[in-house]
């Protein structure tokens, strides 16, 4: 197949309905790179860090992928919902406050207006700011091909560095995210070189509940410290049953710092990332409303 040298040489298919997009994906001769908001792909293509595809399928405009729906205990978030819509949605702000807060720290206004949740998940950056909130909420990612839908736990969706559980004939249609239950709290923290237009050095979310004198449940996920965003499950198990005291905060910080195995790269060092991870966990526990 012809290899394009410039963006202008790439053919783009604009399906009018989701079924048309899925039909194109099902046919190897018509299959193409899916394009939503373009805030990752356009940069990668223009910079030459990702080869130009022969064919692109543009899906951001598909109505089936738009909108946020209240389904009782769960919110359904269409794959083409933008960061702007996430941060401004009353439903997301009330029931998934960590996700709303995370979306508000991505890029600046323009990037938030363009980039989508589906695109962010598919791009699968270990610094993808939306992933930790979905991990701690135990969201499910729903992908579809022409025959059926398939629902994947967020905890297994990211299989490795920039690798997702989504086949070449599938696309992400929505995220199903359990709402924050009464008595539970969430938090989000991002550390980057500046407040906006910055890729995270370390970021993370937690969701938990506090019962009488002790922690009843605690989920925490951290990004930019491993090939994918990760849940710190050993730390979570240890924290259940612990009192919210200074001794717990100190021990949780130490355990978090010793658990993660980040790398040195252009944005930060492994040592600093380990230290920040510990401080972030301590911060989540110390500022827990009680």
């Amino acid at each position: 197949m012809h290899t394009p040298q410039t963006l202008a040489e790439v053919a783009v298919y604009f399906p009018e309905e989701l079924d048309e997009a899925l039909a194109a994906l099902a046919d190897e001769s018509r299959r193409g790179q899916l394009l939503a908001g373009g805030t990752d792909l356009m940069v990668q293509w223009e910079a030459g860090v990702r080869p130009l595809p022969a064919q692109v399928i543009s899906i951001k405009h598909l109505s089936e992928l738009c909108g946020i729906a209240d389904k009782g205990a769960v919110l359904h978030i269409g794959a083409a919902v933008t960061h702007r819509q996430l941060r401004e949605s009353g439903l997301v702000r009330q029931y998934l406050p960590s996700l709303a807060a995370a979306a508000a720290t991505v890029g600046g206004y323009q990037i938030q207006a363009m980039g989508t949740i589906g695109g962010s998940l598919a791009n699968a950056s270990p610094a993808g700011d939306l992933a930790p909130s979905l991990l701690v909420a135990e969201a499910r990612i729903v992908v579809a091909n022409q025959q059926r839908e398939r629902s994947i736990p967020a905890t297994t969706f990211w299989q490795g560095y920039r690798t997702v559980d989504c086949a070449p004939d599938e696309l992400i249609v929505r995220v199903e995210c359990p709402k924050l239950k009464p008595g539970y709290v969430e938090g989000w923290r991002k550390l980057g070189p500046r407040k906006a237009q910055a890729i995270s050095k370390v970021m993370g979310s937690f969701r938990g509940a506090y019962d009488g004198a002790v922690i009843r449940e605690f989920h925490v996920a951290i990004g930019s410290v491993a090939p994918t965003c990760i849940r710190l499950t050993e730390l979570e198990s240890w924290l259940v049953g612990q009192p919210l005291t200074a001794a717990t905060f100190q021990e949780a910080e130490r355990r978090a710092r010793d658990t993660v195995q980040p790398i040195d790269d252009v944005r930060s060092t492994a040592a600093y990332r380990r230290w920040v991870t510990g401080r972030m966990i301590r911060g989540f526990l110390e500022t827990w409303p009680r």
Binding site: L7, A8, E9, V10, A11, V12, F14, L35, G38, T39, M42, V43, E46, A47, V56, S58, K60, H61, R84, G107, G108, Y109, Q110, I111, A113, M114, K195, A196, Q197
Partner: protein, 163 residues
Amino acid sequence: MQTIKRSWTINGTHYEVETAPLRRLLDVLREDLRLTGTKEGCGEGECGACTVMVDGEPVLACLLAAGQVPDGAQLTTVEGLEHTPGGRVLQEAYAELGAAQCGFCIPGMIVSSYALLQRGGTVDAAAIREAHAGNICRCTGYKKIVAAIELAAERWPTAGTGK
């Protein structure tokens, strides 16, 4: 090579555009339509110099494929703001307070300002900084830009006349 046709209204004027679908909106505006007010700073979504409005929403023309701008879309670039009461208020406030130095960021900056003031709601320094977080200026340190937008907010035309 594939081309697509789109009908857009840009700054109140109707345009029929025919282009390769994945070309950047920035290149269509600057090269095909000679609307060179919109600038390319970084070309990778970091600086905001290429900010334009598509259907009232500020977006980055360097990351937007022209084919993804739908038929019938309303676009506003810095050239169009001059012909609106709100745009003139902003232009005067930026000039009065010396908010532009080299000026390269200003076409994108002022489109973000216009979008913020058109949206309405509280316009304090925090809201201004948040709304312009995607626009980078390497000269001013932002203080005079924020002051100019605060001044423009005070002078903003009353509802319905800003467009």
